[in-house]
Structures are given as structure tokens and as C-alpha cells.
Symmetry: C2
Subunit: 564 residues, 2 copies
Amino acid sequence: MKLSRYMVPTLKEVPSDAVVTSHRLMIRAGLIRKESAGMYAYLPLGFRVLRKIMDIVREEMDRAGALEFLMPEMTSADLWKESGRWDTMGPEMFRIKDRNGQEYALAPTHEEAMTNVVRQIVASYRDLPVTVYQMNTKFRDEIRPRFGVIRSKEFIMKDAYSFDMNEKGLEESYQAMRKAYRRIFERCGLETIPVEADTGSMGGSNSEEFMVASEVGEEYLLLCGCGYRANQEKAEYRRTGRQGNEPQADIKKVPTPDVKTIDDLVAFFKCGADKFLKSIIYLADGKPVMAVVTGDREINELKLKRALGATDLELAPDTVVMDVTKAPVGFAGPVSDIKIPVVYDLSVADVVNGITGANEKDMHFTGVNSGRDFTVKNEADITSAVEGDMCPKCGAAMSVKKGIEVGHIFKLGYKYTKSMNVTVLDEKGKTVTPIMGCYGIGVNRTMAAIVEQHYDERGIMWPRSVAPFDVHMVGLGKSPEEIARVEEIYDLLVEGGIDVLYDDRQASPGFKFADADLIGIPVRVTVGKTYFSGGEIEVKSRGGSEILKSAKENLVKLVRETMK
Amino acid sequence: MKLSRYMVPTLKEVPSDAVVTSHRLMIRAGLIRKESAGMYAYLPLGFRVLRKIMDIVREEMDRAGALEFLMPEMTSADLWKESGRWDTMGPEMFRIKDRNGQEYALAPTHEEAMTNVVRQIVASYRDLPVTVYQMNTKFRDEIRPRFGVIRSKEFIMKDAYSFDMNEKGLEESYQAMRKAYRRIFERCGLETIPVEADTGSMGGSNSEEFMVASEVGEEYLLLCGCGYRANQEKAEYRRTGRQGNEPQADIKKVPTPDVKTIDDLVAFFKCGADKFLKSIIYLADGKPVMAVVTGDREINELKLKRALGATDLELAPDTVVMDVTKAPVGFAGPVSDIKIPVVYDLSVADVVNGITGANEKDMHFTGVNSGRDFTVKNEADITSAVEGDMCPKCGAAMSVKKGIEVGHIFKLGYKYTKSMNVTVLDEKGKTVTPIMGCYGIGVNRTMAAIVEQHYDERGIMWPRSVAPFDVHMVGLGKSPEEIARVEEIYDLLVEGGIDVLYDDRQASPGFKFADADLIGIPVRVTVGKTYFSGGEIEVKSRGGSEILKSAKENLVKLVRETMK
């Protein structure tokens, strides 16, 4: 392919809204262009990489025995209503009506649609297990799309769904996908970290995310040397137990004028933040609840939501806090007579002589102790693990990394097969509800993640498997005769079965080399002055610094070796 | 691939909403399933055919030098507003807002989006010509989706757009696409008829549709032995000239109580329908106009719209007719003093002693003659050609066929490059507006059209190029030993590089043969009793009736021959 005909608008300048490396490089190397916020067009070079990734995904899904479907992107509201998710999917799901008034979702995921088609086909245990998949466009109404194609409103997802007769079968299907995912990311040249994850709106009982460690990741991963890996939404940590041996003091009400935040309190009482019983009022599905954690911890709202079994969770407005505690925000606590449900983090009962709001303006209690001054009825893990926390498995200190999620596998359980009445007959003619798994890969963000892991200060360094071309040939001919000699080499490589992007533009060597480095094709072949004056052709790998020399006759062989 | 694992839910019954052959067979052969009105899921066998078609399209587009992009399906309203089509696209275009209030179209076509990305990249004559394309999902809010995937709300389209420096360049790009389209349809085993077409909302000056003749087609094609081919929206026809030698009679007002329709008039006046000057009031962009045609002809609203240069055209409500003609509907005519614009069909001036409404209740004029009783100021071709009309090129009688449109190529002209300010510099540094072409293929309906052209009473008969598999192998083994011998043949074929769908189900030979005929893979291989008892393997082509016999050793060779 001749570069002059291939629409590769490389840029020297960094686009102002591109704050992460992959976004910057994908724009600068002419792979993508922004259409509007969170919407990107793939140019020929970028689409070529995307297709290579999709081909790898397809090969590995097929190898694992999954069957490829293609589902409508506009999915009927009826299906979402049947599963109950029409009401729970929230504002991230685009909804639309046709002119006959029929409602649809622009599908962010296809559990309902796939379950609907599969239930029309499977009838007996003979038809299971089955794993179906598709690669298709998904939509998400991101409130703040960012990081280029990493978080966009429209993206390609490979989504797969397994249907098994029982949990043992599901475990096998899940492991087959797990294996396929490892192969896919490995073949894409991506190092991924599989971590335990929350199951979110999917429902279900077991889930793992494939994360790419990256400074621009939006998720925090807790990692332990023993192998424990979980994202922060889900990560547990071992608690330190009862605070010291100090005897219980008497509870006392203390005036604390304008002392409201944990920082204020630490300064005022001159003690550690872990002595405070931070008490926050939320609305869970519209009803007020109080969450109590130690002052050194952040509330993990996903864990809290799960502990409450709530669909919606939001901070209560000041008026509700006033109403519940009879005091302005900043003075809530579990000691006085609180009429709303209270959830205590696992560490709260271990606080000795704690300090908490007195549900009275400018007043706190000190010497507060669980069991005597308040009763922990509903205890749960509702705080986030942080760097240095003890691993829940082995007790060692965990570390934290940021990561981009590129894949996610779930054991969904019976959520959809039950709500959507999927049944098959077992060997004995008895009706059985199949159990499901669900497996997703974000194709576009996989591409971005590859860039995040493969670049240097000059540009992208594609792994060979997903590189848009095998060879970037820089032609430095000027006279018609020189150009003819360059084209001869181009033909030679193409005939040798090598995929070549040939820079045939009239530009300086420096300009062309810079573009070659920016675009990041694994091998660069330069046909220039040395060759025109009877010398050799230069071969260089994008990663290395050594420039190899080759006669025309050995070029294909040398290029092939360099490609490895 | 083993059929038992491949989710091919063949059906004996014809689904009640499937009224055309391709729809019936695609459902019955387990290729697609309906999700909701106008929305279909492709099952593995159907998706395989779809992909083969897409591969052929891609190969031919690439061969023609077109560059593959991937555009967002949700396109920003800003782009549609820039071209002016946000207001003119009508209710077929799905529109949606995101939660920040930004408006989008679910793109039914991508002129604006592609023009927008191309204008960011091309700067000089050196960057042109260029043809860009994508294969992507499109949406259309069909008021009455029908015929399975032929007219659905969501479909895959290959859409391409060419940008050239001048009309000569456009002609070359257009011809390159024309050639590619012929190859594509030919490779898909489709006989297409290229016909002249109207350019519709695309705007532009030259256009051709690739039609597949079919009883279920929704378009009418006018065909002449001389090579003239046009769809009815566009087809011209040669007029017969002045009606006879009859001398002009005097104009007379005649009472015609309750005589309103052309049939009423023919019965009342006992003359041919071509004597009547049918006068219909429309609203063109909201303003009343009168269209006058001879009573034997239908008004072609697309032609009328074009003649008026109108964006919207609809029949005027009765109140407007009353207001304009001072008479109820049925008595309009061009003779009296009419204050609105009148468009006359080309044949009206040739009517001798015509009859027309007198713009007065229950009254008509007879003896009406152009030039004397009314003046033809604005004359245009505003009627549809029908079977037997004279070819505009050679004058021979034309025939009519119904057809399905599978492809469409247009010369768009400057509509988008002008409205969206695309410019490049020419050789002299002068600013030039490029000229565009636009080229579409409906991928899903191409699949349906292939079925419409390739079936018999037993099922589909796929052309080899798009068949989901090369061979449908029917295994009739019962004992484990027989089954092992069948699988040995399966392995033999697969190792021979043949793509095999192997019916490994426990079912009767008749059931399996019926499914093989229904699914329509080109070659059937039967491994049954004859082979188990020391005889041969049977090879049959889907189209033929002859059953060939083969020893195991010669099977791959014989299958390869039969595939041709």
C-alpha cells in the first residue's frame, strides 16, 4: 500500500483534549479522528489494527467452540422488561422509540437478546452446553466520555454467553472462556492481570476482570504476592482487630463548635482518624440509611449498595440529614436514638473509646464503645481496601495498581434464564433451567491498551500480531530512475508475501523516519542513497537501534527474520 | 462443524408473517430469527453467509482502490445541520439525545460524517482522487418493515464515497465502482439489472441502481431491448404526439352531477381516459400547486417534486382544494382563472378536444384545447411509464419487471462538499471544491436476493461463493463402529481442506436429506449403509439429481470436481 494514497494524516502537535498516551498517539499516527465527544472514526490504518484484533478474538472464540451470531443493536424494550432491567439500567442506557411508539434500547449489552434467541432454539440437554457470541457495536450514554476510545459512547464489544445444564458445566464453560481470553490478550501482545470483580448490574455470583496495568487506568487493583488480585470495588482486606488494650472510658458529650470534618476532628481531639465513627446518611432506593465506618476509611458505595441489596444509592440531601439527625451535616452518629437502618463496617465494632457526632449541632460524643453505647446489628464490609492493607488470603501487605479493564468474565447464574423462562428437558424428561455465564471484551479499548503498553517517546511500537502492516518501507528516491528502483523493492517484498506500507511521498528522510516511528510498524526498510549508489538496503526493527544491511537478493529473508 | 453443535433450528412449518420466499427459507433453514418487527438476529449458519458476502464486497472494494473506514453509527446532529439535512430527512431517520442534550441521528447514511472526516485530511490535489468506504450498521425507521431482511429497520450497508477534483475524475471513480459492483454481484451469483434511477434525498445528477428481478421486488423497472433500463421513479417514455386529426371543437360547460373520478367520466362521456385533463392539487413545501396529466396516467410524485424543485410534496387537503378551485374535490381543471402554479405533463398539450373540471361543483368543460383554453407555461415529465410505453431511446415497446434494489451508485455532485465547505488546492494553488460520488450496497438484502434467485421447492441452493459450507455430509451411522467410520470420512474431508457441515444427529435419512436440501449447501456427501457394507460413498450436488459413487480414496477429488 502506498502511503500517499492511504489517508494517514499524521500530526506533529498533540491534540488538546488528548490527555493519555494512547489517545494522543492514535490521533497523531492517523489511526482515528474524533467525530464528536466520545465518538471516533477509524481511518484505514486504525481500522486495519482493529480488524486484526477482531480476527484474533474470532479465532480464539471459534477455537473454544463458541458460535458466532449477529444480533440487532436496537433491542426491543419488551425483552428488557421481561428481565426487569428496563427499570434498573439507569441513564447510561440509550432508549429510543420508533414512529409506531415501540420502545428500544441501543444495547449496551445483550443478555436479554441472546437469551431470547437461545431459548427459541434449545429444547433438551442434548442442545447444551452452548456458548454463543457476537462482535458488534454497543452504546453507552457516558456522562463524561474520555481517554479517546477507552471510554467512548459507541464501541465494539465481543460479548459471549454460555448456557449449561448445571454449575459444573458452567464452571467448564467459564474456564474455557478464561483460557480463550488469556490466549487472546497474549496474542495481542497485552499483559493482563485477571482480578476478582464485582458483578454490578449483571447479577451473578463469580466474576473476573482482565486488567491492563496502566497509569491512565480508571480502576484500582489490589494485588498480593500470594496471587490474590481484585479490583477495589470488590477487594476485601483483613481487619486489624480490636484497637489496643485501653480500658473503656465513660461516654461524654463534648462541645465541638464548627468541628465537622475528619481533619477538623483529628486536629481538635489530637487522635488518629481511626478513632472516629464517621456516619454518613444515604438514600438507598429513596429511603434514608446510615453507614458507619472508621474515620480513616472511605465508604465503598458499591459494597454498601450490595450490603443493602439496593438498586440505587445516593448521598442524602442536607434536608434529609437534618430530618434524621435533628442536626446539620457533620454531627451524625449512631449513638442517639436513630430511627433509620444503620450499616456498620466490619472495623467499627473494634474501635475503643471512639468519637462520633451527637446528632446535635456542634456536639460530639467521646468514649464511645460498641455494645455499650450502640449495638452493631447489621455489619458488613463497606470500605475500600487501600495500598498496604492486609491480603484477605494470606495477610501480607497488598499493593495497588491502576488498570484499564479490557475483558470481563462472569458466572451469571440463573438471573436471565429464570426471569425469561428458559427451560430444557434433562435426560429424565424433567424441566431444568440452564445456568448462564457471560464474557465480554472491549475491542477498541484493547487497541488503546496495546498502545499504552507499547510505545516510546517517538511513537507506537505495535506487536507484530496486530501491526497494521509487517513492514514500513521508506523510499528515498528522487529521480524517476531511483523511484523505479524503490518500486522494484516494494514489488519484491509484496511478492515475498510481506504486507508493506510504502512511504512514496516526496518528503525529507527525517520527516519520513519520524512518521515511521510514530506509526510503529515493526520493521522499517529504507531504500535510499546507499542502495542507489550500488550499496545495500537498510533494515531496522522499530524496537531496536541496530541497522542491518541487505542486498536485494537476501532482503525478504532478512525482513522475515527481523519480523520475529 | 458438527450440525448437532451448530444451532441450526430448521423448521418444517412456514412462519405466518413470512410472505416471500427468501424470508420463509431463511427462517426455515435456521439462518435468521426475528427479534421484533423489522429486527433480525443472524444465527451461526446465516452469519456465515453474511460474512462471505461481506468478504467479497471488501475484496472488490479494496481491489478498486477504496479505503476502508469505520464511522460512528450515532452521528452528530451538527453535521446534519451543516448539510441542511437535519430538517429534510423526514421520519425515517431515528433521532436521539444523549443525557447532556446533544442530538444525534442513528445514521441511515454517512455522507455528512464521511465528508467531515475527509475534509480534515485532504488538502491538495495530490490527496485526490480518493474513495472511502465502510461496512457498518445503518438504521431506518420503516413505517412498515417487511419481507424479512429485505426491508428491515437495522441493516448492514457497504457505503462508499468518492472525492474528485472534477467531473472527469468523478466519472472515472464512478465507473470504477460500477465495475466493482458488477464483479461483486457476479461473484455472489446474483444476476442484476443496472437501471437509471432517481437521486432522491441524496441530491445529485446521475445515478444507477443494481436491481435483482424478483416477484417480491418493490420497485418497477422499465426495460427495453435496446438496453434502456430505468426504474419507474425515473423512467422516461416517448410521447405519442397530437391526438388524431379531429378539428378543434368549441369549449362547452356541461353539467356532470356526481361525476368525479376518471372512471365516472369515461362512462359518462363515453370516450377514452386520455381525453381527460386530470388536475390534482398538491402542497409543495406547504404551498398549493396544480398538476395536470391525461386521465389514463398516474402522476409520478417524485418526478413532480423534481419538476417543482420541492423538498416536500403531499396531496392538498379538501379545504385547500375548495379554497383554490371554489369547488369540491373532483372538479378541478386548468381552464378557469387559477391563481396557483400549474405543472403540465408533456402529453397534455397534445390532447385534442379534452375534458376537464370547470372549477365549479358538478360541472366539466368539453372541447378543451391547449393554447386556446389554457396556456402551458410549465411543462414537465410528471407521469410514470408503464408496460408497453415507447422507449425514450429507440421507440420500441418497453416491458416492466419488479425488482429488489441491492446496490445504488450516484454522482452526488457538489451538494455536500459545498454545504460543508470542503476545499483543496489545485496545481496552481487555487481553491477548488471537490466533487463527490456515493455508492451503496445493502448486504442483508443481497443475501435475501441470492435466495430469491437460488431455490427450488425443497429449499435454498447457494452459489458456492457464498455457501455457508462446501459440503453437507450426512452421516447415517448407528453403531459406535459405524459412527467412527463416518467420522473418519469427516476428518478426511476436513484434512482435504474442505469446509464440511456434518449432520451427526440421530435422525432418519429422510429427515437429514430434507434438511440438507433446505439448507442448500452445494454438495451433499452421504456416508451410509452402502459404505458400511463395503460399498461406496455417495456424492450429489444440490442442483443435480445424479448420485455419484466414490471410494474413500477418491472422495476429496470427486467432491472438488462436484463443487465446480
